[in-house]
Amino acid sequence: MSQERGQKLARQDFISNQDVRWCPGCGDYSILAQTQKSLPDLGIPRENFVFISGIGCSSRFPYYMNTYGFHTIHGRAPTLASGVKLARPDLSVWVVTGDGDSLSIGGNHFIHVLRRNIDLNIVLFNNRIYGLTKGQYSPTSELGKVTKSTPFGSLDTPFNPPAVALGAQATFVARSIDRYPSHLQKMLGRAHGHKGASFLEVYQNCLIFNDGAFRLLTEKETKGDHVLELENGKPMIFGKEKNKGIRLNGFKPEVVTLDGDYSTDDLLIHNETDKNIADVLTNFTYDSEFPTPIGVLFVAKMSTYEDRLDEQIKTAKEQLGEGNLEALIRGADTWEVE
């Protein structure tokens, strides 16, 4: 797909005329800005973008994008997006969703759309809370979380979104953070570039109901030691002083310091296409002792559902001939009444 009309689009072209109504300071603003900045570079006419969301603070997103948009119902965005994409494979279809929207009520559609590998770009704003309904815990909230609906602490082990995605046969899994604008832009571009269902988790701060949920990853003093920025083909180095790394001890990953004992050569080299590495990386959760990986965790090549469907239609037409309605209606057994 390429830009069909004359001049190149700019960020401004993607800003709709609707007032943005998130709380001042909400992490959603940054995700919106990075998206509006990234789209012009994709070389797609504006009218070919469709943003589809469920319900939640995050799901208000389409109203603010000057593209086609559909603010649907809670948890169902992937289903509507599937319909749009299967009907019109030429469109660039984006799903915008929250942790509650996609992993609580919408969990089933989420795993099925990944399994089918329909070429959608799914961006999950994970703030580990229900924002719009005013602060109940979500399926990504940490065990023991005190919220409006769990005043004595929540009782469920959270989902780990990339693990859920990989368990569901996802072909593209990545992560970024609202406060990392250029990284986020890069990831949006990568998600778009992947042919097939792309899953991008974005850590997003809800300053009203879960402020500082990702503090360790966003504050100057701590982020160096807590973020592992993945680069394909590069060793897994992190740390404020870039002096730490991830090494495999047999099957088991461990954090090592690059002093005398270990050097860069000992470190695990990131390979986006290695499912085993992806499995290891998904176990590095925000609640674990490991740094949180951001970047592309996993990517696999695989034909898309809509291509397979188009192919099937083409073959059927070749083999059976273009459908003939009159003949079909007649069927095999007719008789005449004179």
């Binding site: 009218e47 119902i73 289903t79 509507l80 469109l91 273009e322 069927g331 057994d333 009444v337």
Partner: protein, 613 residues
Amino acid sequence: MSDNTKPIKNVVIRFAGDSGDGMQLMGDRFTATTAMVGNDLGTFPDYPAEIRAPAGSLAGVSAFQIQFSSQDIFTPGDRVDVLVVMNPAALKMHIQDLRPGGTLIANKSNFQKKNLKLAGYETDPLTDDSLNDFMVLDVEITELVTKALEDMKLPLKTVERTKNMFALGLTFWMYGRPMEPTIKWLNMKFKKRPELVEANVRALKAGNHFGDISEVFSSSYTVAPAPLAKGTYRNITGNYALGLGLLTASEKSGLPLFFGGYPITPASEILNQLSLYRNFGIRTFQAEDEIASIGASIGAAFAGSLAVTASSGPGIALKSEAMGLAVITELPLVIINIQRAGPSTGLPTKTEQADLFQALFGRNSESPIPVISAISPSDCYYTAYEACRVALKYMTPIIVLSDAYLASGSEPWLLPNLSDLEKIEVKFTESNGETFKPYLRDEMTLARPWAIPGTPGLEHRIGGLEKEDGSGNVSYDPENHQKMIELREAKVAGITREIDPTELYGEPIGDLLILGWGSTYGSIRTAVKRLQDEGKSVSHAHVRWVNPLPADLGEIVLKYQKILVPELNRGQFLKLIRAEYLVDAKGMNVVRGKPIRSYRIEEVANEMLESGR
């Protein structure tokens, strides 16, 4: 064939046997032959919810009924003239529908101890005098086919499987039907297994000859061709007709058909059928559940497809939240409900009309959706087509109500002339350079524009929050909300202009009006015909559109002393009629999982006519 044949107008035959006995196939063949000799007919299969319950059990009985006639008929019939049973369980389940004096043909070979016990018989009904009301013909079918195929050295199972052909041959004899079409069909079906062709043809002929030589039947019967309108016919079931109607709407509108489905009895066949039409470019999508299937369909509608989803009651319940989204976003979407008996899982293979209120009201808040119902198997074709046409013209979701009876029942269908069908015109909006207003309306239909993604200059957002009139922006304004609710209501109400004047069968003024909707059409018409023949002042009006109601219905109902509304539910349409027209209509509410019987309608009508007021 005996030359001692008597003419007769009308016959109802029912075949009943084990699920493994091939009753449905036998019914199909009888139907095809009957159609070809020019009778009018109606059929109704009745099979169990289990895939294949244990042989000989009551739960495993499968049946097929056909009525055929030298006259115009409307149903598969109520009271059975000839009952063919392949085992005791089949006898037990169906004997109560055989009319006194009717003919019972039983496969005596299967009436051994074990099967009698499975069916709950203590003694053999074929010999214990309990069937004295009927003309009983017990035939050792198993032995007879075994003998007929003796020299072929086939496995026992294969021999057993030809029993249905024997029974078919016998019934063919009874009504002087030709065997050739069936022989031709067997040759096709078992192209690669000539020994099966041979075996089945032999069994068929053996049955036929048995009729001829046995002394039991003093005569066979002929049912003359019915005076049907000129033209080419085929036999068709409701579900199949529905699928063809959707396909026709797709071709006539020039829109690609998108069908989002999830299997559920008795709607699954529509998904199965449409997925065969890949060479028509049809996109069927078996989703993970009903919610996903309607979600995908709404998405496809947004993207410019003719979008359709289908299910049955429990699945429709799951779709109800998303239907509200289709209402507020005003997208064209055809939602088909093949009703089955409930509540909950209920009797999943049985028929009922009890989802009418669900169709009208089964959503949160004021969510008006037009509702059209099919009145006969072949009418499913026109109903599906009409639903697509109206959905596209008015930019609205629409509900099509059919039911298990129409779905699998069949009747002869005069093939449509495609160019006679009312046109479907669709125009996607294009930019005129001004700010696009997705909720500006057509003055007449109140439809909003259909602006599909990919169109430059029309970028816009829709969603489930209340919209501002015109701009479609989110609005919390109280007056706007009231206005939008009224607009959505008015748009649906305006569809009355698409509805033909109500046809009255009978005098426009009279003692009794029998008013129906949907699949009760045939039963009511049959009853009213007989009542009129008896000189009663009874008329029949039948609506296909339940929302909106036809504009002339209010005047019609006032012209009769009494009104009877027969329904396969507890009085849902009745309630609408009473609320709408304040007439003291009475209900006849049958929820037996089966079509309403026309003689019962006659009885109730006669009671009403006789009781004073």
